[in-house]
């Protein structure tokens, strides 16, 4: 109790009331125990909130720095130094249009379609996987997570060679003999894109599976969250029911390694069953429930 009294004395000098339960913040990222000035949020917490909101807004409105991203992939060996990614654009010409017309963010503009058609002209072979990087609602998420995620993914492939545009698939559960070579399409980067634009890219590239890396809607405490969407047999007009999603990929969320492991599992199952989406159940949900089973509620202890 003595420590509480000290806290209060200190708080009175500071013109605000501290909450003696603020140590509960060890158990949650929620903004609990903020204390109060009268009944209002104390200044330092108010300003911390404003900063978090500013960062989330910047993540939405700052354009993706494609040169920086490309350099990053080249220097880490994930992209051949003599190869530039194909830069594509949706039908939304700017951010204001992008935010108000999700339908336009789901379709490529004419120049982008022509570029992809040119890419596949005269080719008979089919790509196994097209990786499509989309700015989405957080350029920050793409900027920060693309390289580490692709590096983690590359590490699960044998040989680890995204840069050679051909790699081998390995299920975490399968023995080494079962590895099969994957034919990877050229890397694409889409500006002002929504998730579904990956389907059009994948279809034009004639890829069996498309993997979209997209900046998710930024949360106040998570402006940098990457989303992964995988679709078997991509074509224009598919809905979310045809996709599998791995969400919240970032340093403070689902790690790049865990995300890559989940993705490899889904990719393997999808190729085996020749489908994706709701029919392809993701097994990790049940595990999470079991883990939290042992906890007790301190309020009734």
């Amino acid at each position: 109790m003595a420590t509480h009294i000290k806290r209060q004395d200190l708080a009175q000098q500071q013109c605000f009331v501290e909450n003696p339960w603020d140590h509960l913040r060890d158990f949650t990222d929620a903004r609990i125990g903020l204390g109060r000035a009268g009944v209002s949020v104390p200044t330092h917490h108010l300003l911390a909130f404003q900063l978090a909101h500013a960062q989330a807004q910047d993540a939405v409105h700052f354009p993706l720095d494609i040169d920086q991203l490309t350099n990053n992939l080249v220097t880490t060996g994930l992209l051949p130094s003599d190869e530039q990614p194909l830069v594509l654009q949706s039908q939304a010409v700017d951010r204001a249009m992008y935010l108000q017309r999700p339908d336009l963010g789901r379709r490529l503009d004419e120049a982008s379609k022509a570029l992809l058609n040119q890419q596949t002209r005269g080719r008979d072979d089919v790509y196994d996987l097209a990786i499509v990087i989309v700015d989405g609602l957080s350029s920050l998420a793409i900027q920060q997570n693309t390289q580490p995620f692709l590096a983690a993914l590359d590490g699960l492939l044998t040989p680890p060679s995204l840069a050679k545009a051909s790699l081998q698939e390995m299920s975490p559960k399968e023995p080494a003999e079962k590895k099969t070579a994957l034919n990877i399409a050229p890397l694409t980067i889409v500006k002002q894109g929504r998730v579904a634009i990956g389907d059009e890219v994948g279809a034009l590239l004639k890829a069996k599976t498309v993997l979209v890396l997209i900046g998710e809607r930024p949360g106040l405490s998570s402006p940098d969250s990457l989303g992964l969407y995988m679709t078997w047999a991509p074509e224009v007009g598919l809905t979310d029911a045809s996709r599998n999603c791995i969400s919240n990929v970032r340093d403070a969320g689902l790690s790049h390694e865990d995300a890559a492991n989940k993705l490899m599992y889904l990719l393997h199952e999808s190729r085996r069953l020749k489908l994706s989406g709701v029919q392809l159940k993701e097994r990790s949900e049940e595990v999470r429930l079991e883990q939290s089973e042992g906890q007790t509620n301190f309020l009734i202890a």
């Binding site: 990222d29 929620a30 309020l299």
Partner: protein, 476 residues
């Protein structure tokens, strides 16, 4: 009027001459849509007015439409849509009688009239259809929406009484991204010690299945029982999950469901009116309310019908208002319009969100729905805390039944910003809005508030909670 008659031959049901220009509107749905104050969702749907002048003219034309028209000229066909059938079949012509001679424009005057009392508004309630409410709201300024909503009294009850004039409640929303028990309990404690939670303690589960729902229901029920809190709990899971939880003997206070204003919207949400009826009956059979038996909690929001491609060419506010016909059929304790959650493609900025929040609250209250509002925004909308302060204050003045309460405005599970525990206390202080009376007494008894007149909180930890806190402190 002569001009209007002539233009009808050209395939326009409504028209209006302004100077040399004749504006035509091909049917009631188009007239309603074009009369709607500007918002991004109607532009996305391609139903908005093409110019500010066309919008103003549509409002003038709509003002001339008799209320009776809405009973014959239904916006979604009766044969195709069970929400339309509900609206038409349950229309009370006796209640409608005092206003049956009015046009939409006259209806606005009638609502604002000194002679129209709160009692008369209650009597007329079942004679007013959602489309009539939506139509008149399109002619009303924000202050009109506030003025009339304040006259519409809707009171409901379960373990406390929600919606009494001069009162205002909060939903404590202790969401956690992994449904972590300690994390949820920590947010619940924070909220209770800030006086939040009289509308409901309601969790959006991160993992949405029956087993998880039952775990969370039990968690909240344990706390409500241990501290004898006069409130109710709810897990915001699909209605069919809650039905299954009831069958398995779970402690279900309120049944939740997101609802929309067309049958096709509700199909996309995976339910129909029969399922809601079944769920209501199941919850009533548990007989868990002490003050009343209003057992349903619905959430709505402009844009949900368009998002499900189920809007039948209507504007989003008219679709939204039709959802209140669904709500009032099942005597809900709470109906919450989650106004800024859907994103800028439906409500672009603070101005549009504020307008929509006031419209939804007014229309809901006029139709007799216990309307609360999730005063909120996402980070890709052109809005900030100041916009939320404005809407919160306006809704407090309008007599809004309840708002959300989240630690520090930051929902770390749903990734959006809504009103904080602090925000609710601000509204109580500046507008003198009391919690539900049963809950207010509990706050005083538990020494959470040390002055319920000035809404002053106690310093330190109230005695009933100090032992629990010592428990958890030992674990750090």
């Amino acid at each position: 009027m002569n001009h209007q008659t002539r233009r009808r031959s050209e395939g326009h049901q409504f028209s209006h001459v302004l100077g040399a220009e004749t504006y035509g509107f091909k049917n009631l749905a188009e007239l309603m849509a074009k009369a709607t104050p500007a918002r991004s969702g109607d532009r996305l749907a391609g139903v908005a007015a093409a110019s500010a002048e066309e919008r103003a003219v549509a409002q003038m034309t709509l003002a001339e439409v008799p209320l009776k028209t809405f009973l014959n000229d239904v916006l979604v066909p009766y044969e195709d849509d069970e929400v339309t059938r509900l609206i038409i079949d349950e229309h009370d012509s006796e209640a409608f009688n005092p206003i049956s001679h009015l046009t939409v424009g006259d209806f606005r005057n009638w609502l604002l009239s000194d002679d129209t009392t709160p009692e008369q508004l209650i009597q007329a309630r079942m004679g007013i259809t959602p489309e009539m409410a939506a139509a008149v709201s399109k002619l009303m300024r924000n202050q009109d929406l506030i003025m009339v909503a304040k006259k519409c009294h809707v009171t409901t009850a379960f373990r406390n009484t929600i919606g009494l004039p001069g009162h205002f409640s909060t939903r404590l929303q202790p969401n956690h991204p992994t449904d972590d028990v300690t994390g949820i309990a920590a947010s619940m404690l924070d909220g209770l010690l800030y006086g939040s939670g009289d509308a409901v303690i309601g969790i959006n589960p991160a993992t949405d299945n029956v087993a998880q729902a039952i775990k969370l229901m039990t968690l909240m029920d344990d706390v409500i029982q241990k501290y004898q809190i006069p409130t109710q709990s709810c897990v915001l899971t699909h209605v069919t999950n809650t039905l299954e939880a009831i069958e398995q003997g779970a402690p279900v206070d309120l049944v939740f469901q997101s609802i929309g204003g067309t049958e096709a919207t509700n199909s996309s949400f995976g339910f129909n009116l029969n399922v809601l009826e079944e769920a209501q009956q199941a919850a009533l059979s548990l007989n868990r309310g002490s003050v009343g038996q209003d057992v349903m909690y619905f959430e709505t929001g402009q844009g949900s019908a368009l998002s499900a491609n189920a809007h039948h060419g209507l504007d989003q506010q008219t679709c939204e208002t039709r959802a209140y016909a669904v709500a009032r059929k099942f005597n809900p304790l709470l109906v919450n319009t989650v106004v800024g959650f859907i994103g800028p493609e439906y409500l672009f900025d603070g101005k549009e969100i504020i307008r929509a929040g006031l419209e939804d609250h007014f229309c809901g209250k006029l139709l007799g729905v216990p309307m609360g509002c999730d005063v909120c925004y996402t980070n890709h909308a052109e809005a900030d805390q100041n916009d939320m302060d404005n809407l919160l204050t306006l809704l407090g003045v309008a007599g809004c039944s309840f708002i959300m309460g989240i630690p520090g405005s930051d929902d770390i599970m749903l990734n959006y910003q809504t009103t904080s525990f602090h925000d609710a206390l601000y509204a109580r202080r500046v507008l003198d809005l009391k919690p539900a009376p049963e809950f207010e007494k509990w706050l005083a008894d538990m020494q959470i508030f040390n002055n319920t007149t000035t809404y002053e909180l106690s310093h330190g930890i109230p005695p009933a909670f100090s032992k629990s806190l010592l428990n958890v402190k030992g674990r750090v």
